[in-house]
């Protein structure tokens, strides 16, 4: 089937008019180039956005209290209320398939006044009262010492895990910091560990300037009593927090005597929903890349088909001679189809190579100028490339189909008469 004579013939035909062959090839080359580059750009954008999400567990929601907007059970509207520590157990008891329910409290922040003091140094940092599980919901890497544990919680130890940003501000380079004390709002906490967060977004610096202390110690030190600022709730893998959300909020409404229809009294942020929205954006981007790429490719294929038709027309007489000498119609058809596929695949490969070179160039450029917001490491997978080759194969077949049929439609006698 793929014998030497056929290949010779294909090469003879395609090299007999090199200029035309190259022009034809260009269409397909350009189409696959655009497809590859668009897909890579989409991937780069996707990588950029994903980096913004950082390592955060995406099957997570945050929930906090606001003022009620409807009177209920004799209570007025515009009433403010707080989540309580006991709400956590209530959620565990009433909502299945949850993985983490972390109550949190917070104070300070880089925008506010200085709230942390060490000797003569001061700084404004976000201080969180947290349970140990938070490290799974808002992942960070412990770079020295340890993170909070349940002994800290139970014994209300005044210990703190500080970010590298805090470390740089409050300590000399190479200064020993584990076991030293910092003063948060006038209360001494012992530093037991430091962390680093992976985040490429604009607040990258801020996320390294946080301090984590045990929830119980926080409540005691800063007089929060049983109050909970907000909760971070993560569903088990396999169930989505978006589906459990209503259930959780209903439990809270009931416990805090909030009207069941009061939509505003409990605020929340559903990370999973948000993440899915972004995911569908990626799917959309990919679809656009495919549509545009395949459109351009299609015009390339039509080009190949047209040229093959012209080639067939030019070779009418030759085809007539071959048939007079006894070549089978299917053999002629196969020849034309193979020429078409060969031309399409070769030009497609050139497109893929050029596309890869451009992507490589962009990557080296990105490497040299440093990170660009929302655009990281554009690339295409091997799967996409082999998919593109598949598409090319089929395209070549399609492009050759009409010309191949027209090649054998002319009867040999008529073909021989055209002088």
């Amino acid at each position: 089937m793929f014998n030497r004579d056929r290949w010779r013939e294909i090469l003879e035909v395609l090299t007999s008019n090199v200029g035309r062959t190259i022009l034809t090839a260009f269409g397909v080359c350009w189409g696959i180039f655009i497809l590859i580059v668009l897909l890579a750009a989409g991937k780069g954008f996707e990588n950029g956005i994903r980096a913004d999400f950082g390592d955060i567990a995406t099957n997570t929601m945050f929930m906090w209290t606001r003022r009620t907007t409807k009177p209920y059970e004799g209570l007025p509207k515009d009433r403010s209320f707080e989540f309580k520590v006991s709400d956590v157990q209530a959620i565990w008891d009433n909502v299945p398939n949850l993985r983490f329910v972390s109550p949190r409290n917070h104070q300070g922040g880089t925008g506010g006044g200085n709230n942390v003091v060490r000797g003569i140094r001061t700084g404004a940092y976000s201080v969180y009262g947290d349970y140990p599980e938070i490290i799974n919901q808002d992942p960070m890497t412990i770079t020295s010492g340890r993170f909070l544990n349940y002994n800290d919680i139970n014994e209300r130890r005044k210990v703190a895990v500080i970010g590298r940003g805090v470390l740089n501000d409050l300590y000399e380079k190479d200064e020993e910091y584990l076991g030293t004390y910092i003063k948060i709002q006038g209360v001494n906490f012992m530093v037991i560990g430091s962390y680093k967060k992976n985040s490429n977004d604009g607040n990258g610096e801020d996320s390294q300037k946080e301090i984590f202390v045990p929830f119980t110690a926080f409540s005691q030190a800063f007089n929060r009593g049983e109050d909970v600022g907000w909760m971070a709730i993560t569903a088990k893998d396999g169930s989505s927090i978006s589906k459990l959300k209503d259930n959780i909020i209903n439990v809270m409404r009931e416990r805090h005597k909030v009207h069941p229809e009061d939509k505003r009294a409990i605020g929340y942020f559903d990370l999973y929903e948000q993440y899915n929205r972004v995911e569908s954006l990626f799917v959309g981007l990919k679809a656009i890349a495919y549509i545009v790429g395949i459109m351009v490719l299609l015009s390339g294929i039509i080009g190949v088909s047209n040229i093959m038709l012209i080639v067939v027309k030019e070779r009418t007489k030759e085809i007539g001679i071959r048939r007079a000498l006894g070549e089978q119609p299917w053999s002629i058809k196969k020849q034309i189809l193979m020429e078409s596929i060969f031309l399409t695949i070769i030009s497609g490969m050139v497109g893929i190579i050029f596309g890869s070179l451009v992507i490589y160039g962009i990557n080296s450029l990105l490497d040299s100028v440093g990170p660009v917001d929302m655009f990281i490491n554009p690339n295409v997978s091997v799967g996409v490339v082999s998919g593109a080759l598949m598409i090319l194969m089929i395209s070549g077949l399609l492009a050759g189909f009409i010309p191949a049929n027209s090649a054998i439609r002319v009867r040999p006698i008529e073909a021989l008469r055209t002088e």
């Binding site: 007489k317 048939r323 006698i413 021989l416």
Partner: protein
Amino acid sequence: MIEINDLHKSYKMGSNSLHVLKGINFKAEAGELVAIMGSSGSGKSTLLNILGMLDGANSGEYTLDGVPIKDLSETKAAQYRNKFLGFVFQSFNLINYKSALENVALPLYYQGVPRKERQEKALKYLERVGLKEWATHLPSELSGGQKQRVAIARAMAAEPKVLLADEPTGALDSTTSYEVMDLIQKINDDGNTILVVTHEEDIAHMCKRIVHLKDGVIVEDKKVKQVRAEQYV
């Protein structure tokens, strides 16, 4: 070898049709060398094309070496052409990007003969037409007479039962024509059946039998004493 009975052929030209062959009866034995004569437009090529299975008749019977030729599919026709027939055309019809050797080897390729054997055989036939040294040349590098000799070698390479030549000397000067006829005579001497369409008297007389076509019927069919072309070369 060839037998046709009451063969009719007409061409449709829009609404009216042109009746070209109006009942041809003809028989040729193996080893014959027949000239088909007639003025231009008398239907000689039409007849030869039908005999060559390049075209179909409207009615009538055609038997080639005992095989009835009727309602052939294109695939079958191609197979029969390849196996039974060799063609020589007025305009040579060589494939211009293939060398003389490749042209001659072409019918063997369609028969599925392996490459090496094909080339050996093709070279043998090129040698028979005296063009062994020209094997690697393209048709454009050959003279008219040489081209026609390559075409004859190509037609003979598949060892067909019948060689059909449509005005093989039509594009050649008389000396070259005689060379080609000499070759055809020698092939016939080896026992091959050959039909030659021509409108030139001298060429016709180099055959062994002359069939005259006029107004779509055979008006004359006579045996002649063959004039050997050799003496004019």
